[in-house]
Symmetry: C2
Subunit: 250 residues, 2 copies
DNA sequence: CCTAAGCAATAAGTATGACTTTATTGCCAT
DNA sequence: ATGGCAATAAAGTCATACTTATTGCTTAGG
């Protein structure tokens, strides 16, 4: 994970800002940070640089480090996404689920045009594996295949911005299984759609790949929103939060 | 470019990395940076922090600042987007146009559900202004309204990640006008689609708003791709041009 | 002869103090 | 009231000394 001292302090401050402890417009002063965390100016300044890079703050001479309005924040930064998830999981998951709904169908269409044969074959293999594990009720293995499936579609789209969103999709999928939202045997229609998507990408059927993915994510979005409203007090969190050892390095 | 020294050096190094001058895997050492730019250790380290925050590099003790593989870069960072545009405008615009195609229809659908009356009214007003300026052939004013229109749709979607992409859309729109890619009088169908989208968002017709936006961005994507392949060397667009692939404006 | 333990060299990471720049604030004169 | 002119406060920059972790070599042990 990142630099020892720097990373720890950054994480604390990032969480606090994301959680609204320091609301937009409020100011932090570097010498306060030094005192509070017992760090030197070098470290404090570098933490500020990192926060500034995510557009959470801006340093102004004679006034201090001011927290920027929320709409300025770089909402796509993976670190910030984690902080926001920790602060208000419900709202952030909703945002992420909607983003996924937008991107994956187009990514599937692009993959149908541009995917290498090797990747297409792997997608078909993964979809078959999902059929098997769904039947067996092996949810963990199913999810692993599911995560890998979507990661591969996004990568095969040939669009580096789409590819980057695999973390977002992964977070959503993990959250669903971690919350018992998935039925013990994943819905057959979902499994079938994965197979259809893989086959369409393999055969280059752009339109059907897009449409099948649209169906899939529409259903997933529905399920996610239902889960979010029905669990106002999300409990326990089976290791999603990533506090201990910074997951997601890539 | 905010910070004085820091910002300048960061910009140079960011451009270079984005352009492939320092390919992934290569290492930069901070003392080299100090010499090259005539800066102090503090500044050099903070520049590294900024680059690390965008995931362009990672500092490792005893080895140096190593450039990370391209797929690790945070492709959504506005700064990096600018650097990539400067390095390879064609490829980056293609990526951005595709992203836009994915997001805007869903954003329009969301806006139809969630937009405040005030914003919806403003969208209708903007679409009417586009009708007028299109008829008059006032392309600059037309584009300004167009930019504002899409910015507002993204904002009204209520999804902060969508809202953040207004810069991307703006970049695409500006590029098209700056290239004489659009006809003197924007195509009526595009103008009409803007009106339809505004009206659907106002009336809460989610499905039609999404579909109309899908038509709009599909046409825009076509036009952008055509412009990218047909104009390898951007120059001052003599005459009305309208290359064969000329598409409407958005 | 090859593996494993230890050592030294190196470059990032941290700490500290002095100095510079810049924007705000408030006073003063117009 | 308006305009400009200091005083000032906090970020920004610089220079240097010290710490820590990694790598690669060297040597001890099997």
């Amino acid at each position: 994970m990142g630099g020892g001292l720097h990373g720890k302090v950054l994480d604390v401050l990032g969480r606090e800002i994301a959680a609204g402890v320091h609301p937009p417009g409020s100011v932090l002063r570097t010498d306060e940070m030094e005192q509070r965390f017992g760090i030197s100016r070098s470290v404090a300044r570098e933490v500020v640089r990192s926060l500034a890079s995510i557009r959470l703050v801006v340093g102004r001479q004679r006034v201090g480090i001011v927290v920027r309005p929320r709409e300025d924040w770089n909402a796509f930064d993976p670190q910030l996404i984690r902080w926001l998830l920790a602060a208000d999981r419900t709202a952030q998951l909703k945002t992420l689920a909607e983003l996924r709904t937008a991107v994956e169908p187009i990514a599937a269409a692009a993959a149908a045009l541009r995917a290498a044969d090797e990747d297409a074959a792997r997608l078909v293999a993964l979809s078959e594996r999902m059929v098997a594990t769904a039947r067996a009720g092996d949810l963990d293995t199913f999810m692993a295949a599911d995560v890998e499936f979507h990661r591969l579609v996004l990568r095969a789209s040939g669009n580096e911005m789409f590819a980057q969103l695999h973390e977002v999709v992964e977070e959503l999928l993990r959250w669903r299984t971690g919350h018992g939202l998935m039925p013990e045997h994943p819905r057959p229609v979902a499994v079938r759609l994965h197979c259809e998507i893989a086959e369409c990408i393999r055969s280059g059927d752009r339109a059907r790949a897009e449409e099948a993915m649209r169906e899939l994510v529409a259903e997933a979005l529905e399920g996610t929103l239902a889960g979010l409203t029905s669990t106002p007090a999300p409990r326990a969190a089976a290791g999603i939060t990533a506090t201990p050892g910074d997951r997601s390095f890539n």
